[in-house]
């Protein structure tokens, strides 16, 4: 228990979380602490490149086995399963129409790579390591959730008109999602890291390893500001039930992931990371895909939930909780 508290306070008092809080609270107070869009985009590419590359190097060092296939399979299953659970929960907890429920569900089945990054830092502080290939698992978890959500949206016959042009709308959707630049950079860097191995890491480590934490702080300042702005403008669209969903759903996803992680025999750190993937909600690939595929769904709902409620919760309380749970379970 003491250990859990120590973990939680170490996380809460890390520069990364404090910079997030600065952005969040400063924005709430009325300041504008965002970075320019061009820079925010670049920092997210940097994080993806770094985390992908390091994952690839880790796999190159430890070798490629059947376990990676198992983990990829677990990721796909989780990403397809969690939206179903989220959809069902939402039906109980909030008054949303089908399309909005499906859209929200897609976000929770998918993942947030920044939460992944923050969790990997927290693991390092806690002295735990994780399987490098989990980066690839993160990448495959982007897509299945969207497909399941589209099915959910249309299964019941979506809002009138929604199906009318849905043929046109789905044109190229799948490739659009799978070729989303964040997914490609993540997977591509993973492969490059795998190909160039520790020698490659030595080459570009001073760029992707040494300043990594600092860049993360700057990025989280921005994310905090964006989350704060989301809450400010999106709050009126939230009901108590929705807020509760945004706080509870991550733990539901995490528990499913815990089961999956134990089943495929991941290390403690690996289980924790898989839990973070299960718990986190997308805010890059999925929202863009849904604007194409489900334009009737309201971003003011799904983005406020994913960025304004779930992301801060995961970053502050969620991550140490998942690590603690993984320790207990794998203990």
């Amino acid at each position: 228990m003491n250990e859990i508290l120590a973990l939680a306070s170490a996380n809460l008092l890390s520069p990364a979380v404090l910079f997030f809080a600065l952005g969040f609270l400063g924005t709430m107070a009325g300041s504008q602490l965002t970075l320019p869009e061009a820079v925010a985009k670049t920092l997210s590419i940097y994080l993806m490149l770094a985390i992908g590359f390091k994952g690839g190097v880790a796999v190159a060092e430890h070798g490629l086995g059947i376990d990676i296939l198992l983990a990829l399979g677990a990721g796909v299953v989780l990403s397809a399963l969690i939206p179903l659970v989220a959809f069902a929960l939402l039906s109980v907890m909030a008054r949303l129409d089908r399309v909005d429920r499906a859209a929200v569900a897609a976000h929770y089945g998918s993942i947030s790579i920044v939460t992944f990054v923050a969790a990997s830092e927290a693991l390092r502080v806690a002295g735990l390591s994780f399987e490098g290939y989990l980066v690839a698992v993160a990448a495959v978890m982007e897509t299945p959730a969207i497909l399941v959500a589209l099915y959910l949206a249309h299964a019941g016959g979506a809002r009138p008109g929604a199906n009318a042009r849905s043929g046109a709308r789905q044109e190229g959707l799948l490739s659009e999602v799978m070729l989303n630049s964040s997914v490609v950079v993540l997977i591509g860097s993973f492969v490059i890291g795998f190909l160039t191995g520790p020698k490659g890491l030595a080459d570009i480590g001073p760029f992707i390893v040494d300043p990594f934490k600092g860049v993360l702080c700057l990025f989280l300042l921005d994310m905090g500001a964006v989350a704060g702005r989301g809450i400010r403008s999106g709050w009126k669209h939230m009901s108590p039930g929705l807020v509760l969903f945004g706080l509870v759903m991550p733990y539901v996803g995490a528990v499913f992931a815990l089961g999956a992680g134990l089943a495929i025999g991941l290390s403690t750190g690996g289980v924790a990371i898989l839990m973070v993937l299960g718990a986190s909600a997308s805010y890059i690939a999925v929202p863009a895909a849904l604007r194409l595929a489900l334009p009737e769904a309201r971003p003011s709902i799904y983005l406020t939930l994913s960025l304004g409620i779930t992301f801060p919760m995961n970053l502050t309380i969620g991550i140490p909780a998942y690590i603690a749970l993984a320790r207990l379970a794998n203990g």
């Binding site: 504008q32 320019p36 869009e37 920092l43 921005d222 690939a285 895909a289 604007r291 334009p295």
Partner: protein, 103 residues
């Protein structure tokens, strides 16, 4: 200077459907268009602001098309079908140009 009457369509639409809009414009035989980035805005779905954002969702752009009045209805109908299920605004206005053959 002698000028010719043309039409300008101004499409404020979501970034994720830009490719689709461009494809439809090209297929409708439009001879050119230019895309401009927007910073922020407000509409029936609430406010948005690009500062600090990383994804494409929630970005609006403006596509400007200068075209011959003859082509207006056809292009407009096509584009309206694409844009109307999404957020955004289409306006049409009168403009004059110096070289008629280019539009």
């Amino acid at each position: 200077m002698h000028t010719f009457a043309k039409k300008q369509i101004q499409i404020i639409c979501e970034r994720p459907i830009l490719k689709r809009v461009q494809r439809h414009l090209t297929e409708a035989g439009v001879k050119g268009f230019t895309v401009f980035p927007a910073l922020s805005g407000s509409g029936s779905e609430g406010e948005w602001d690009r500062e600090g954002m990383i994804g494409d969702a929630g970005q609006m752009v403006m596509v400007l098309v200068v075209l011959d009045p003859e082509d207006l209805d056809r292009v407009l109908a096509d584009i309206f079908d694409v844009v109307s299920p999404q957020m955004g605004v289409i306006t049409i206005s009168d403009v004059a140009v110096v070289r008629s053959d280019r539009f």
